[in-house]
């Protein structure tokens, strides 16, 4: 049990990476999702390509490219910066698709009514379409956040001092073997549980409200 404290020391870094990467993804996902539905062909294909590439390369490879590739040759990045940039870009790819799903769920009549009232596309998107799409996308986005929390463990490979890094250090340094990793698993499950509960509750509420 003496390793519990050591592993818990990593919690703030795990939470920090997860929250910042999610924020980066949530913001960058918006233009990607909108470009994905653009009437301009090249913009649409470009966005699709970017999303496919972001989702097609293993996250750990992304982190290595940024930390070892860009970080040693071009600009020096801390492991936190590299993790947030890498996981944030990947999150943008996944969240763009989640937003797109939300936009697709908004009834076509809503777009037409907004246009009939003389709203320009910005007003229509920010006042009418966006809020409805956001509500639909929220449960999936929360589920993605749980995945991101677990993926943040990958940042240990670029020496970010989060949960798994602390567990590995305890295991190697004290010859403790298995125990710190079991503790790490329990901590990840405990951190993910409230998010899972939130996702389920929001999903149930959404279904009740949208049910027609």
């Amino acid at each position: 049990m003496i390793y519990v404290q050591a592993v818990l020391l990593g919690v703030p870094m795990t939470v920090l990476i997860t929250v910042l990467a999610f924020a980066v993804g949530a913001v960058l996902g918006v233009p990607l999702a909108l470009a994905r539905r653009s009437p301009l062909g090249p913009l649409r294909w470009g966005a699709r390509f970017v999303i496919d590439v972001l989702r097609g390369i293993p996250p750990v490879v992304f982190l290595f490219v940024i930390y070892f590739g860009v970080g040693t040759g071009v600009i020096k990045l801390s492991s936190l910066q590299a993790a947030v940039i890498g996981l944030g870009l990947i999150a943008a790819g996944y969240l763009a698709e989640i937003y797109r799903g939300g936009l697709l769920a908004v009834h076509k009549g809503q777009f037409e009514s907004a246009a009939a009232l003389g709203m320009d596309s910005w007003t229509s998107m920010s006042r009418i379409i966006g809020p409805q799409a956001f509500r639909v996308a929220l449960p999936s986005a929360t589920t993605y956040a749980i995945g991101l929390l677990k993926d943040s463990s990958i940042a240990s490979t670029i020496t970010a001092t989060e949960i798994l890094y602390r567990a590995t250090a305890s295991s190697r340094g004290h010859g403790a073997g298995l125990e710190p990793f079991l503790i790490a698993a329990v901590v990840y499950i405990a951190l993910g549980a409230p998010l899972a509960w939130l996702s389920r509750t929001m999903d149930a509420r959404m279904r009740a409200r949208v049910a027609r």
């Binding site: 293993p58 070892f68 590739g69 040693t72 567990a167 298995l178």
Partner: protein
């Protein structure tokens, strides 16, 4: 060609990286072959008659899904020896990723089984089929078919997860790229090639997933 240029380097490294990619594909394949039947078993246990069987299955699934694949790898790699089993990196990688696969695909398969119309089960009981035969010949074949697009999507994620096995010294694609990087100090060049090689598999697999989704949507 001069091996100091980007393309020259890529040509020189390609054979080694392709060997690594082949190992990644084998790890992913073995994990799926073991993990998906495990997922089916868990999906069936989650709807078992006995309450404690259901509860146990749900706990196994939630623990499996809540633990990051990278942590699962370390647990298996360090855990099996302390249980008296000494295994190589390949076996440890497959066991860990198969457990993760089992936990995730159980939810996918459960959704597939639930999507089989109830009339099918009623028709089977009208034909005097017992529960076991109904599951075996009616519900499971249709439920698994419904789950195929989601299973394909998951298979892409497992191939990506094989990159994590470099932490247990498996000489797959990422591990080979990293050691070339540290020998030549050309991390960016070699890691970009590694990314491209992953994309060569994941992009077409992603298109295939979309295609099966559309086909399935038309047939339901």
């Amino acid at each position: 060609m001069n091996e100091d240029t980007l393309l020259g380097g890529w040509l020189e490294w390609l054979p080694s990286l392709l060997d690594g990619l082949w190992l990644s594909v084998r790890v992913a394949g073995a994990s799926l072959i073991i993990g998906i039947p495990l997922g089916l078993a868990l999906a069936l246990l989650m709807s078992a008659k006995h309450k404690w069987v259901r509860v146990l299955a749900i706990i196994v699934v939630e623990v499996g899904r809540g633990t990051p694949a990278l942590v699962m790898l370390q647990i298996v790699y360090f855990g099996l020896p302390s249980a008296g089993l000494t295994v190589g990196s390949f076996v440890a990688a497959v066991v860990a990723l198969a457990l993760t696969t089992g936990a995730y695909t159980s939810e996918i398969l459960r959704a597939g089984l639930q999507a089989v119309p109830h009339g099918e089960v009623e028709a089977a009981s009208a034909l005097a089929m017992n529960n076991r035969d109904t599951l075996r010949f009616i519900v499971i074949p249709q439920g698994v078919r419904i789950a195929i697009p989601a299973l394909l999507g998951f298979a892409i994620l497992i191939l990506q997860a094989t990159a994590l096995t470099f932490t247990i010294a498996l000489p797959e694609l990422l591990s080979r790229s990293y050691s070339i990087g540290s020998n030549t100090f050309r991390y960016l060049d070699v890691l970009l090639l590694a990314g491209l090689l992953y994309l060569i598999i994941t992009l077409p697999a992603g298109w295939l997933t979309t295609w099966t989704e559309r086909r399935m949507a038309r047939h339901l």
